[in-house]
């Protein structure tokens, strides 16, 4: 099943299929290891529900919902 990364439940993982985020952000995401084929896991949310922390390989990073919406994952 495919869904947006922003729709992942906390603790849920998925394989990244498509990233439609724009350039400077996409570049930065690649540094975190966010590329098609990597496994991304949603970890926890901030007190105000946005951003959310995700993990890819050994890297934990915070991403806002607006960006997570543009990443498609397969569960």
């Amino acid at each position: 099943m495919e869904k947006k990364a922003s729709e992942l439940q906390m603790g849920e993982s998925g394989e990244i299929m498509k990233i439609s985020v724009e350039e400077p952000k996409k570049f930065k995401l690649m540094h975190f290891g966010v590329v098609p084929g990597s496994i991304i896991t949603a970890l926890y949310q901030s007190p105000f529900h946005d951003p959310t922390a995700y993990r890819v390989f050994g890297c934990v990073f915070a991403m806002r919902e607006e960006d997570a919406k543009q990443i498609m994952v397969r569960i």
């Binding site: 690649m30 590329v35 007190p47 915070a62």
Partner: protein, 655 residues
């Protein structure tokens, strides 16, 4: 002795600076968050028969990016002005560090790879086949744990006996290989990293393009995007790491997980941060009282001896030196030193532990609403120590707009130069007893003032983001490093040496001449009235409107070089002797203030105006340097001042 240069390259927050410090005995501060080092740092050390110059480059994920750090780092790596490049990689995330390793290997073969944090990788059961990796990369690899101080000697040995070996061949994507085939004949001696750099860096390209190559470069510049280059590296790295890393048995630290949950929970996250701030301030206030008194007594005795020693000097030289320079100096030192010696280390421990990224994470949403991002809270934390540092630290903000917002609002965080005055005013006018409970109460009030400062930061950021550089879109993609228990003594020592003494030194350099200057202001008279008095009388009508008086306002103005001297100037103004009084006790201080008409409202206005007024001269100069614009420097001067005047005006009106 041989002389050699080595540069340290690597991702942010993988312990480059720690290694740098261990090798060179420096105390460069290493925080547990991304982007701590923004400039190249230089230092030296001697190992056996070689004198090494070490260059610590800013941490970056790649050398082809556009950020300031990436440019600085890639500039240096491309210059090849070094004998050796040591790449520090993160063993817990080799997938990512590999990108950097490959990029550097495309520029130079003079490479040693360090796998740092190897202890953490072992704890987390991430298996790395080092021999296979060594074979594949064909460069020396050193396993290291800077925390346990393992692998340091091994690295030095490798550096000593290093001989260049040809790097393995990296087959890039078809497009890129095509480009290489076209361009390589024109620059037979250049390495491939050079060609890739030409595609991503306009200035660099201009240096090298010739009539013949212009077309090729420009064609491929439009044809191959940055992302494609990254993608190509990623594929190479993926192939390379096959069978090298095994994450099948990887475990997560459960304590880490639970603790993070608590920190970022809706109900516990924000209150905990407030409590932490309160606790930090309370410890600072409670434990700095006694050392402060001791310092005062010590310096007062010193004054007596100094006077005796210098008694051969004529009075018109001796008096300004002692009553002007020396007294102001010791006021500043006695009041500032103890809180700094407590606050800075405590803060450094939290920083090294990795708390700051969580603060940014928790506060991102409110900042997002104001047109900025959570990283601004990091610059605010720095500002709590020293606003000039906060302004420089604003480089971590990705877009120019956010940088400017963060720079312009940094002054709403009271720095260590303003803390002591605020604390003494709070303990004089807001609390009755001076027991533990009393100091808790002052810490609480100070925390509230800081929260008020945060609140103002939000409002001003929001307002400014309406008017300034509207077009840019903020982004917040931020790494959250895992918690690392810092070596306490190292953190404390670094905080003292790097920060406390640095800030103190600056204050001392300013306060001595400022003291002498003040002495002359107070003792030079025009038709019977001293210049100081004249100025304060001129300012008085306006100052009264905002709940202060002429002397307080004049003190703030004269305190422009360093905020620490505000209280001494006020006292100088009140004691018409023309010299700064000796400090006896908080009580006597209070009675002097009350005699000159201070009330609760005055105290409150003083606190607010301390929080919101023009930044000190050093900060202003830093702002000019960082923004490269007089306009923003002037804004940085007037925004907080106008805010302060407005709030004080209303307090006075209502009070």
């Amino acid at each position: 002795m041989k002389k050699k240069t080595v540069c340290f390259v690597g991702n942010p927050n993988v312990g480059k600076s720690s290694l740098f410090n261990i090798l060179t005995n420096k105390n460069q501060h290493t925080g547990n968050w991304t982007g701590k080092t923004v400039e190249n740092e230089f230092a030296e050390f001697v190992y056996k028969d070689t004198h090494w110059t070490v260059v610590d480059l800013p941490g970056t994920y790649s050398l082809i990016g556009e950020s300031k750090e990436e440019k600085i780092a890639s500039e240096f790596v491309a210059s090849q002005n070094y004998d050796l490049a040591v790449i520090i990689a993160d063993s817990t995330n080799l997938e990512r560090s590999m990108q950097m390793i490959l990029e550097v290997l495309d520029i130079t073969n003079k490479v040693i790879v360090v796998l740092n944090l190897i202890d953490e990788a072992q704890i987390r059961k991430i298996k790395i086949n080092v021999n296979l990796l060594k074979q594949k990369l064909n460069v020396p690899i050193v396993l290291m744990s800077t925390k346990e101080r393992k692998g340091i000697i091994e690295l030095c040995e490798e550096m000593q006996k290093f001989t260049e070996t040809p790097s393995f061949f990296k087959k890039h994507s078809e497009k890129i290989e095509h480009y290489f085939a076209q361009i390589e004949p024109y620059f037979p001696e250049k390495k491939r990293g050079f060609f890739l750099r030409c595609l991503t860096n306009e200035d660099y390209l201009k240096q090298y393009e010739t009539e013949e190559t212009h077309q090729i470069f420009h064609f491929y510049k439009n044809y191959i995007s940055r992302i494609e280059i990254m993608e190509s590296y990623r594929l190479i790295s993926q192939n390379l790491l096959k069978n090298v890393i095994n994450r099948e048995e990887e475990v997560e630290k459960t304590a880490d997980k639970r603790w993070t949950k608590f920190l970022t929970n809706k109900k516990t996250g924000i209150p905990f941060l407030f409590l932490l701030l309160f606790f930090l301030l309370w410890l600072t206030i409670y434990f700095s009282n006694i050392p402060s008194d001791i310092l005062f007594q010590f310096f007062q005795k010193g004054e007596y001896w100094l006077q005796k020693m210098l008694s051969f000097l004529p009075e018109y030289i001796l008096n300004p030196l002692i009553y002007g320079g020396y007294r102001t100096l010791y006021w500043v030192v006695s009041v500032m030193l103890p809180p700094m010696m407590i606050f800075f280390p405590l803060f450094a421990i939290l920083e090294d532990y990795g708390l700051l990224p969580r603060i940014a994470f928790n506060l991102d949403k409110p900042f997002q609403k104001c047109g900025s991002c959570g990283k601004q809270s990091l610059t605010m934390c720095m500002g709590l120590g020293c606003n000039a540092v906060g302004v420089t630290g604003s480089r971590i903000m990705e877009s120019r707009k956010m940088r400017i917002l963060s720079i312009l609002t940094n002054v709403f965080m009271p720095c260590n130069g303003r803390f002591p005055a605020m604390i003494s005013v709070i303990s004089m006018f807001f609390i009755k007893d001076h027991s533990i409970l009393g100091s808790m109460y002052s810490a609480f009030i100070l925390s509230l003032i800081i929260v008020f400062g945060i609140f103002l930061t939000f409002i001003i950021t929001k307002l400014l983001s309406f008017f300034l550089l509207k077009d840019e879109k903020p982004m917040f993609l931020f790494e959250m490093p895992s918690f690392r228990m810092p070596k306490l003594w190292v953190s404390i020592k670094q905080a003292w040496v790097e920060k406390a003494f640095h800030v103190l030194k600056r204050a001392m350099i300013v306060s001595f001449p400022a003291g002498i200057f003040l002495y002359f202001l107070a003792n030079t008279s025009i038709s019977g009235v001293s210049i100081f008095e004249l100025c304060s009388k001129l300012l008085n009508p306006f100052a009264m409107l905002i709940g202060l008086d002429g002397i307080i306002l004049l003190a703030f103005i004269l305190g422009l070089p360093a905020n620490e001297i505000v209280i001494p100037i006020i006292l100088l103004g009140y004691c018409s002797t023309g010299v700064l009084t000796n400090y006896e006790s908080l009580e006597s201080l209070k009675s002097i203030l009350i005699q000159h008409g201070w009330t609760f409202t005055t105290a409150l206005c003083f606190l607010i105006f301390s929080l919101c007024h023009f930044p000190c001269a050093t900060t202003l100069l830093t702002i000019k340097k960082e923004t490269n614009s007089w306009f923003y420097t002037i804004l940085a001067f007037f925004i907080p001042t106008l805010v302060g005047i407005t709030i004080c005006f209303f307090i006075h009106l209502l009070g």
